[in-house]
C-alpha cells in the first residue's frame, strides 16, 4: 500500500476533524479511560455508582460525580456517543492495519527507534510503555484532554486552552525525545541506508 505524503495525510485527517464537528462535536479520547475505569470499578464495587430513590445517578468518587455526575452516567450507560467513538476508533485502526497486512513482526513488541537505541529487550520496552501510559493519562486528565481533544480539536477552534496545552506538551516532549533517544549513545549502531 502506498505511503501517503504529508499533504494527503493532512487532508484525510483534517477531513475527519471537520466531519466530526460538522455532524456531532470535536474529537476527544482520553475521558474514555476514566469511563472504562468506572465501568470496571463499578463491577468490582457496585457501591461506586448508585441510583438514588428518585432515579438520580451518583458516585462515591468525586471525579465521577462532578458536573452532574456526567462520567458516572456514561459509565452505567456505555452505549453513548463518546465511548462507542473510541471502540470504533480501535475497529477502524484494525481494519486499516489489516489492509496493509498488519504490523511487521519486528515491530510488534518495540518500535525500531527503541531497538536502535536500547536493543531488542521487549520486557524493558513493555515496562517503559506501561509507566508512560500511566504518565500520559494522568497528565491528560489533569489537563482535561489529550492530543486529540486539546491539541487537534482545540487548535482548530482557536481555543486558548489548546495553545497552553500544546506549548506545555512540546516544551516537555521535544527535549525528552532528544535525550532519551539520543543517537550518540546508541547501544547498537546500525548503518542507515
Amino acid at each position: 500500500m502506498e505511503k501517503l505524503n504529508w499533504l494527503k495525510s493532512g487532508i484525510i485527517l483534517g477531513s475527519v476533524f471537520f466531519l466530526a464537528v460538522l455532524l456531532v462535536k470535536p474529537i476527544g479520547v482520553s475521558t474514555q479511560f476514566v469511563i472504562l475505569d468506572a465501568i470496571i470499578g463499578d463491577k468490582i464495587n457496585p457501591e461506586l455508582i448508585t441510583k438514588t430513590g428518585d432515579g438520580k445517578i451518583q458516585s462515591t468518587n468525586s471525579y465521577l460525580n462532578k458536573s452532574g455526575a456526567k462520567y458516572a452516567k456514561s459509565a452505567i450507560q456505555p452505549l453513548n456517543y463518546d465511548f462507542i467513538f473510541v471502540i470504533a476508533l480501535a475497529i477502524g485502526a484494525f481494519i486499516s492495519s489489516q489492509l496493509r497486512n498488519g504490523v511487521e513482526q519486528s515491530e510488534k513488541f518495540s518500535p525500531k527507534v527503541w531497538n536502535d537505541k536500547f536493543g531488542k529487550f521487549a520486557n524493558k520496552r513493555l515496562l517503559v510503555t506501561f509507566v508512560s501510559g500511566f504518565v500520559v493519562l494522568f497528565g491528560a486528565r489533569l489537563a482535561g484532554g489529550c492530543t486529540s481533544g486539546h491539541m487537534m480539536s482545540g487548535l482548530m477552534q482557536t481555543s486558548i486552552s489548546a495553545y497552553l496545552f500544546t506549548i506545555g506538551t512540546f516544551v516537555a516532549a521535544i527535549p525528552t525525545a532528544m535525550i532519551v533517544y539520543n543517537k550518540s549513545t546508541n547501544q547498537k549502531t546500525r548503518r542507515v541506508k
Partner: protein, 188 residues
C-alpha cells in the same frame, strides 16, 4: 443515530490514524527529535484545513456553531501537557494513537493502555486534593477562544471576529505545514 455517527466518525478517525502512520511510534519519536517532520506537517495541515472549513461553514450557516466544544484554561492544562509530553516522547503514544496502535497489533501499545487505565484511576483518587490546589486556578477566564465567535457561548479574549480569525489562522497553519522542511536535523 448518535451511535451510528459514533461508529462512523470514530471508525474513520481510527482508520485515518493508522493510515497516516500517526499510530506508528517511530514517526512520533523521530518527529519529536525534529528528524522527520512528515507527521508534524500532516497534523498542522489537518488542523488548518479543518479550522478553515469549520469557520467558513459557520459563516455560510452550514456548520452549527453550537457543535463547538471549547475546554477550560487553567494552570493544570499546562502542567498536564508537560506531564503528558514526557510520556508521549518516551513511548511514542498518546491516548488516541495508543488505542489505534494496540488495535493494529502492537503489544507495547496494549500495555500502554493498561498503564493509562491505572493513571486515569489514580487521577480519580487524587482529584479531591487537586481541586483544592492551585493547579485548578483559572487562566484567561476559563473557556475562551482567541477571537469572539458570532453565536458562540464562549467569550473571546480579543474582540475581533473569531470566525474570520479562525479562517486566517487556518491558512497560517496550512502555510506553515507547506513551508516546514520535512527534515530539520540530519540523522547522524
Amino acid at each position: 443515530m448518535n451511535i451510528f455517527l459514533a461508529f462512523l466518525i470514530g471508525g474513520l478517525f481510527g482508520f485515518a490514524l493508522d493510515r497516516v502512520r500517526a499510530s506508528n511510534p517511530n514517526y512520533i519519536i523521530t518527529m519529536l527529535k525534529l528528524e522527520n517532520l512528515y507527521l508534524m506537517k500532516a497534523i498542522l495541515f489537518a488542523i488548518g484545513f479543518a479550522s478553515t472549513l469549520m469557520f467558513a461553514g459557520q459563516m455560510l450557516g452550514l456548520v452549527a456553531v453550537g457543535h463547538m466544544s471549547v475546554k477550560a484554561s487553567y494552570f493544570g492544562v499546562v502542567l498536564g501537557g508537560v506531564i503528558l509530553g514526557v510520556g508521549w516522547a518516551i513511548s511514542g503514544y498518546c491516548p488516541g494513537t495508543g488505542i489505534a496502535a494496540a488495535a493494529s497489533g502492537r503489544v507495547d501499545a496494549m500495555i500502554f493502555i493498561l498503564g493509562g487505565l491505572l493513571g486515569a484511576f489514580v487521577y480519580m483518587l487524587v482529584f479531591d486534593q487537586l481541586m483544592d490546589s492551585t493547579v485548578m486556578n483559572s487562566l484567561f477566564g476559563g473557556k475562551v477562544t482567541l477571537g469572539t465567535i458570532p453565536g458562540s457561548k464562549y467569550e473571546g479574549i480579543f474582540t475581533i471576529r473569531g470566525d474570520i480569525l479562525g479562517i486566517v489562522l487556518g491558512f497560517v497553519f496550512m502555510f506553515v505545514a507547506y513551508k516546514l522542511p520535512e527534515k530539520i536535523l540530519k540523522r547522524r
